[in-house]
C-alpha cells in the first residue's frame, strides 16, 4: 500500500484521461487538483478519470473532484469517473455523489459517454 498519489495523463482522441494511482487524501490531492485545473483552463470539454488503481479517497479528494465538476459545469463540460473499486464507489454512494458524477464501469464506456455528448 502506498501513501502517495501518482497522477498520469493520457489522451484518448482529444479527451484527457487522468489515471490516479495510490491514495487521494488531503496531503496528496493538491497535485491532482493542479492537473485538473490546468486541463479545465486549457478548455477540456470532458475529463475522464481512471480510478482503477486508486486505493483510497478521503473527503479532501472528493472536494477536489467536486470543485472540478463545478468548474466544468459552467462551460457545459463533465468529469467522467471510470472503473471505481467497490470501496471507493461506497464513499461516493454515502455522500450521495453518485448522482453528481457520471460514473462508468470502464474507461471505454466513459469515453463513449464523453464522445456521445
Amino acid at each position: 500500500m502506498s501513501t502517495i498519489l501518482q497522477v498520469e495523463e493520457q489522451r484518448q482522441g482529444n479527451i484527457p484521461v487522468l489515471l490516479l494511482r495510490g491514495r487521494m487524501d488531503s496531503t496528496t490531492s493538491p497535485e491532482a487538483e493542479g492537473q485538473l485545473n490546468r486541463l479545465i483552463g486549457e478548455g477540456a470539454q470532458h475529463i475522464v478519470i481512471d480510478f482503477s488503481d486508486l486505493e483510497y479517497i478521503s473527503s479532501a479528494g472528493l472536494r477536489v473532484l467536486l470543485a472540478a465538476q463545478k468548474r466544468m459545469k459552467q462551460t457545459g463540460g463533465t468529469v467522467l469517473l471510470a472503473a471505481l473499486r467497490p470501496e471507493i464507489r461506497k464513499v461516493f454512494d454515502i455522500a450521495g455523489f453518485n448522482r453528481l458524477f457520471s460514473i462508468s464501469p470502464s474507461i471505454e464506456e466513459a469515453l463513449g459517454t464523453g464522445q456521445g455528448r
Partner: protein, 454 residues
C-alpha cells in the same frame, strides 16, 4: 634583501596568514558586526579607521624591501575600511597608513603614500556606488587589482629617477597586485560569509517567530472552535448521551451539536466538513451556525436541513461540502425523525442485537442549492443504542493502512449495547486507538452515542 622569488612567496604567505587571523578576529568583534548591519556611528567609524589604519601600518612593516621600496599590502587595510564603511573610514585608515609610510622615506615615498590614501577613497566611493552596501567578492578583488595598478602608475608618474621607478615597478607590480588582491579576497570572503550567516540566522528567527505566532493563533482558533460545541450535554430522563470530537490537527472540520427543540424534543447533529485543518474549521464554523439557526427555525428536520443546505451551498466555492446527520428525538414518545445528508450511516443496535444503518436521505450539504431532503422516522425501544460517528473513526488505519471499518465499529456497539452511552463511547475510542497503535491520528474523529434506558 635581494629579490628572490621563493623568499618573496614565503613572506607573502606569512602576510596572508596574519591577514586571515586578523580578519577572523575582527569579524568576531561587536563593532565590526554592527558595521555589517549598517550601524555606522561615529564611534564605529573611528574604530574602523584605527583598526584598518593599524592593518595598513602592519602592511608596511611586514613588507620586504626591494630597491628601497617594500613589496607590501599597505593598501589592503584602507581598502577594506572603505568597502565596508565608506569614504570617511577609507580615507581615515589611508591617512594612518600614509603617515607611517612617509616616515619610511625612500624615493617612492610620496607616490606610495598618495596611493594608500587613494585606495581608501576609491574603495569608499565603490561602497557609496553600491548604495552603501558592501560590494561582492568579485567587485572587491577587481577594484583591488585596479587600485594597485593605479599605485604602480603613481610610482612611475612621481618617483624619480624614472629608470629606477621603471625597474621597481617591473619587479614588484605583479606580486604587489596579487598580494593585495588576495588580502581583499580573504577579508571579503570572511566578512561576506559572516554577513550571510547573520542573514540566515535572522531569517530563521523571523521564521520561528512567525511559526510561534501561527501556533498561538491556532491554539486560540481551537479554543474558539471548541466553544462551538455544546459545553455540556443535557440530561435526558430515560436516556444516556455521550459525545466527543477529536480533531487530527489543532482545528478540524468535524462537529456535533445537541439542540433543545419545542415540545421537549432534542435535536442531535453530527457533521464532517470535507478535508481538515484550517479551511475545514472555517467551513465548520459556518455550517454549525447555519444548522443551529435553521434547526431552531424549522419544525421538521427535512426543512431544517434543506434550508441549511441552500445557505451553505451559496457560500461554497472550491468544492467544500459537509456531510451531516440530523435527528429529532422525542424522548416521551421514544421516536426519532432523521435526515442523513450524505453522512456515514449511523448505527442503531436494537436491544435484541440486530442492527440497522440509517443511510443517506439526501446529498451532502454545500453541493446543490436545490437538493431536497427526505426524512425518516423510527421508534426506539429500551435497550436500543444509537451510534453517530464520522469517517475518522471507521477510516482510522493500522500501520498497514487497513481501515478500522464499519463492521468492527458495529460489533463493538453490539457487544456493549447493555452499557451506558459514556461507556460505549470510551470503548470505541480505546478500541480505535488500540487498532491504530502508535500511528498518529489521521482524520478528525467524532462520536455521539445515545442509549435508551440507563
Amino acid at each position: 634583501m635581494p629579490a628572490d622569488p621563493v623568499n618573496e612567496f614565503i613572506v607573502l604567505f606569512q602576510m596572508m596568514c596574519v591577514v586571515v587571523v586578523f580578519a577572523y578576529l575582527v569579524t568576531r568583534t561587536r563593532f565590526y558586526q554592527e558595521v555589517l548591519d549598517g550601524i555606522l556611528t561615529w564611534k564605529n567609524q573611528v574604530l574602523l579607521i584605527l583598526v584598518f589604519g593599524i592593518v595598513s601600518v602592519y602592511g608596511s612593516m611586514s613588507g620586504i624591501e626591494i630597491l628601497g621600496a617594500p613589496l607590501n599590502i599597505r593598501d589592503t587595510g584602507p581598502m577594506v575600511a572603505g568597502f565596508i564603511g565608506g569614504p570617511v573610514a577609507g580615507i581615515g585608515a589611508g591617512l594612518i597608513g600614509a603617515a607611517y609610510r612617509m616616515t619610511l622615506g625612500g624615493f617612492t615615498m610620496v607616490a606610495c603614500s598618495v596611493a594608500t590614501l587613494l585606495s581608501g577613497l576609491i574603495a569608499g566611493l565603490i561602497y557609496l556606488a553600491h548604495r552603501r552596501e558592501i560590494p561582492g567578492l568579485a567587485v572587491g578583488v577587481a577594484a583591488a587589482i585596479i587600485i594597485e595598478g593605479v599605485h604602480m602608475g603613481l610610482v612611475l608618474l612621481f618617483s624619480r629617477p624614472f629608470s629606477q621607478a621603471v625597474a621597481l615597478v617591473s619587479d614588484v607590480a605583479f606580486p604587489m597586485i596579487a598580494a593585495n588582491a588576495v588580502g581583499i579576497f580573504i577579508f571579503g570572503f570572511i566578512t561576506l560569509n559572516l554577513k550571510k550567516e547573520k542573514e540566515t540566522a535572522r531569517e530563521r528567527d523571523r521564521y520561528q517567530g512567525e511559526l510561534q505566532r501561527k501556533n498561538a493563533e491556532l491554539h486560540i482558533a481551537r479554543e474558539i472552535q471548541e466553544s462551538f460545541l455544546p459545553p455540556a450535554l443535557p440530561s435526558l430522563p430515560g436516556y444516556t448521551l455521550a459525545a466527543e470530537s477529536r480533531p487530527a490537527r489543532e482545528v478540524g472540520g468535524d462537529f456535533y451539536d445537541v439542540l433543545a427543540s419545542p415540545g421537549g424534543r432534542i435535536g442531535l447533529v453530527i457533521a464532517d466538513v470535507s478535508d481538515k485543518g484550517v479551511p475545514a474549521a472555517l467551513f465548520m464554523a459556518l455550517s454549525s451556525t447555519v444548522m443551529r439557526a435553521s434547526a431552531a427555525w424549522h419544525q421538521k428536520p427535512g426543512d431544517a436541513v434543506q434550508d441549511a443546505n441552500s445557505l451553505i451551498a451559496r457560500e461554497s466555492s472550491s468544492g467544500m461540502f459537509v456531510t451531516l446527520f440530523f435527528c429529532l428525538l422525542d424522548p416521551d414518545k421514544g421516536t426519532i425523525t432523521y435526515v442523513n445528508a450524505g453522512h456515514n450511516p449511523p448505527i442503531l443496535v436494537r436491544n435484541d442485537g440486530t442492527s440497522i444503518s440509517l443511510s443517506m436521505t439526501g446529498m451532502a450539504l454545500g453541493v446543490d442549492t436545490s437538493e431536497s431532503y427526505e426524512e425518516r422516522s423510527l421508534s426506539l425501544c429500551p435497550g436500543d443504542l444509537l451510534v453517530l460517528y464520522t469517517d475518522g473513526v471507521t477510516e482510522a488505519e493500522d500501520s498497514l493502512h487497513r481501515q478500522f471499518g464499519e463492521e468492527r465499529l458495529e460489533s463493538i456497539a453490539r457487544q456493549k449495547r447493555s452499557h451506558s452511552a459514556a461507556e460505549v463511547l470510551a470503548t470505541i475510542q480505546s478500541e480505535v486507538s488500540m487498532y491504530t497503535n502508535a500511528m498518529p491520528q489521521y482524520d478528525d474523529m467524532t462520536l455521539v452515542v445515545l442509549k435508551v434506558g440507563s
